[in-house]
Symmetry: C2
Amino acid sequence: MWLEYEPRSSGVNCVKSLYLSLKGFTKEHPIVANALTELERGFAGMLAVTKENIIYPLDEAKPPAETLALRLERDTEISAEGYQLTADEYSLSLRAADESGLLYGVFHILRQIAIEKPLAELTLMSQPDIKLRMLNHWDNLDGSIERGYSGRSFFFAQNKVLPYERMTDYARFAASVGINAVAINNVNVKDAATRLITPEYYSEVRQIAAIFAAYGIRLFLSLNFAASLELGGPQSADPFAEEVINWWQKQIAETYAAIPDLGGFLIKADSEGRPGPFTYGRTQADGANMLAKIVAPYGGLIIWRCFVYNCTQDWRDYQTDRARAGYDNFITTDGDYLDNVFLQIKNGPMDFQIREPISPLLGAMEKTNQILEVQIAQEYTGHQIDVCYLVPMWKEALDFVIGAGNDKVSDVVSGKTYANRGGIAAVANTGDDANWTGNDLAAANFYGFGRLSWSVNLTAADIVGEWIMMTLSRDEQVINAVSDILLHSRLTYEKYTTPLGIGWMVSPHSHYGPSVDGYEYSRWGTYHRADYLAIGVDRTSKGTGFSTQYREPHASIYENPATCPEDLLLFFHRLPYSYLMKNGKTLLQHFYDCHHEGVKEVEAMIAGWNGLAGQIDPAIHTRVAERFARQLDNAIEWRDQVNTYFYRKSGIEDRYGK
Amino acid sequence: MWLEYEPRSSGVNCVKSLYLSLKGFTKEHPIVANALTELERGFAGMLAVTKENIIYPLDEAKPPAETLALRLERDTEISAEGYQLTADEYSLSLRAADESGLLYGVFHILRQIAIEKPLAELTLMSQPDIKLRMLNHWDNLDGSIERGYSGRSFFFAQNKVLPYERMTDYARFAASVGINAVAINNVNVKDAATRLITPEYYSEVRQIAAIFAAYGIRLFLSLNFAASLELGGPQSADPFAEEVINWWQKQIAETYAAIPDLGGFLIKADSEGRPGPFTYGRTQADGANMLAKIVAPYGGLIIWRCFVYNCTQDWRDYQTDRARAGYDNFITTDGDYLDNVFLQIKNGPMDFQIREPISPLLGAMEKTNQILEVQIAQEYTGHQIDVCYLVPMWKEALDFVIGAGNDKVSDVVSGKTYANRGGIAAVANTGDDANWTGNDLAAANFYGFGRLSWSVNLTAADIVGEWIMMTLSRDEQVINAVSDILLHSRLTYEKYTTPLGIGWMVSPHSHYGPSVDGYEYSRWGTYHRADYLAIGVDRTSKGTGFSTQYREPHASIYENPATCPEDLLLFFHRLPYSYLMKNGKTLLQHFYDCHHEGVKEVEAMIAGWNGLAGQIDPAIHTRVAERFARQLDNAIEWRDQVNTYFYRKSGIEDRYGK
């Protein structure tokens, strides 16, 4: 990952020894201890400042030459988790109100060294834009990971908790980019996972919570809404049933007694076969509030996913529109939720496709805490075989202006717009692979998610440059070449798979590789409805009405194909293949061309990567090259299957004879 | 199954006691013992002749009234396995050359009672048309059954052999319809199954062989051609390598020493990922002969499957035609095989679709022993959820005249045409479900396969009538109604799935339910190539040339759409949707209509079945009714997906506005 602390040029930061002072913090605090250890590691690795050259002075005497005086000091004026850095040539002051702020400041200093920027430039105030910055792991207790592409779980195997070493490393990585909350088990809570809230796992879960806490991270568990039925409690999960409430009260009290640090619970209810309040004729708010009331005394949160839709749709049903479901199921409950409930809303209305409009539910609820959910795991975006840098997609979501004013999604989830609480969460992409993320370049997504969560105004280019310098090289050619690959990779993936917002067309179950009709006659509500003349679903006011769920000006913009952004054209409209695009091509020719361009772009990426041989770690170069070869196969398969499918269906030849 | 021996009308066969004499046979022979036990069971159950009323007389004195004198006598003039029955009003003689013939004769007598026909009519000679009548079980040692739709294996679970009771019952059923050979493990031999030929399993396998032998059945094992590599032998499977030959010699000698009754081995080599002689640049004959030579001294057979094709085809490749593969891979080896090698050839050139032409390889090899392989397990024909009576399909294969003369496939596999040895084999459809075959009506296929193997000239109607009388009822209304359902069921299944010989369009992996493009862009060589104008693969001399593999007159008949049987039209030809069928409809309208008719016919079948409530065992009626409901869902799904697909693709509306 990015905390290898390989040697850095001493020309930039010529530090041979370090004087450290600590004021208002105690070395014994676990977070402080971790921060100091991290400093030692970083200075030793990057600047060869060995342990004996790190001195904790009792006085403030001016240190000798080539010595950095680093003053760590508590300052209660600074906001929670934030930090202030003040530098001159050989001294640096880090001030924070709390231990987490101290830790984040330390990681900032180390990052500055890692990217070979002068410490002397570090005069700044930093605080997180979003308060709750979370990772969701879809790890099962048997050790598998749902939509995991980096090996097995490092939390669980064979219904047991694994050794803690890798979790500790993981906590370092997460904290280094500002993550402060982690749910460790799959939102599809089944079998043994239901028992994580029972004594069978208390001792292990408490230990994980402690490891996380020492990095400023709160542990969350995904909860089975019907746990009472499975754990020998009442044979109901009705949130209004007194016996159910009593059962949860007792269960939660016991759990919090054993694991006082627990941040709370993440819940997928009434979703894709998971039980929920709808089963008992209750609203989503009824379900969430029942639990929220019980966890409130312990400071716990209930994070409630909004991924509720009819997953047994008849494909012959042209009325039902899955895109509408999140909004339709939740909008009427605005204001009904207790203060410690957070609704977690996916960035798009469907499910993590390469291009979707921003969910109209985000920002629509003015009296409800909202979390933006994105996916680092590349479920529909290449399985960490294909390179697909997702920060640009997440930025689109955060930067989306929800109505006629200036309020963005980022303002909603930071709690500014409606003075609610908010957050951001991502499905993680890590596993027990030696390199953590399968494709080494996929680590950039993990890194980028954390950095963006902290500072929503960072650009994708800034973040990617940082990550390259922290991991691969400080050489400008490498930075430019890898930046180029990463920053274009999402558009490339979109081109060779499903451009124009059409989405899906992917192999069922695996979600890798093409299958144009794979979801066309299925129960999942994901249809392109392509026939010999036209493609797409009319989601305007004349169609399913989905576009009307947006505030203006979006509703009008999306309503009209002429104003609808072309990259979302087929999400909102059903159009003939002959429809003229702004570039003068017909829709189908454009669609064909995108697929050809996508393959060419992969070839160019590969050429770019090959050009770096000898300039980066050969092991990494080889691993990524092997993935690129598979990506090219995948891109060709997408191009040929999709273009053949539409040629066969429309009879319209590719005018360039391809 | 059909050996329940429920009481039968005593009006037809009024027998109150039985005088049994045995001449030339000994009661102690296991087959004879089983035959006598079967007689006791049958007479007790069907005619209430209790055990004390069965008398083994020493003399030939005329028995008292209402007593049947049954003389069982060895007659070496009769051919192997055959039997002769001679009846008058109260005496019956059964003569056979061997114990198997005796057993088959006993089952014939019991069948006559079961179908309520007079024993006095039993004057006949019966001998099997085909000498080797085999079942192949695709049971894995973990207890799963590849393409099994009747529960788990009754041979294996968790890599252990199961208790023998159910195998004994199974052997009764199999013998009662004339089966004389059974391979108990999956042709895809992996993991523990490779070790069936090692001491780990000798004692259990020997026991199964003994149970089978007592019913005249020889046990076969499926063999892993690369066993040497997996069992610690030479790291090669080259049939020309001396060390490999030596290893097999030792291994086979040990196996036969432990299980002298073993009939031999069934081998799937160079097929769908299984290793084989092609890996070492050897022919199929080289591989088969190496093993055949080794098993010959033990009287063993090598049954070698011809299911060899390229299963990693590029769908963009229009030259390769999987249909050609069996013929192309084997035809040049005719005459190369040792006398104890049998080539096992599937009925169609593809893979057990609802309609295929007969494999051109059948009968093409004049100097090679051939086995016709069919599939009782309803892999592509409804998973024993949908009713699909397959005897008519198998009869088509047996009755196919292979060239300009009169020689049929049945003559080839009976060894008449070329004076070779031959056989018939079927993939079995049984499991540990209480009713053996999932759908009770699917048992008719097991029964039918056995009966047809013995007497290839029986009609499907004869066999189905027998089966109904033996299992459901002797009531004429029931016989007619169930016959009607079964005899039309294959045509109905064909109509609502893939008429005109197009095949496939089935859900990948599961092979149940529609997925029109499911195999279209895959590596399996099974394409319909449908576009906006036309559908099908040209397999004539102008296309892949597959039709030229047939002898005349078939080659010419198939070459021309005007003479090609319409039910195979899209197997051999690529045709426009506007092609005019003999009924005056366009091809596409006919295709649409078939799907509508198929659904209507399922509804009619269900009505027919519902009309039998009260007339047959209510438990059976309910079980079958539940399967029919699922069949109707399946048929509707096929109709709607297929017709929608082609409407979308062609833009041609169903003229009846459906």
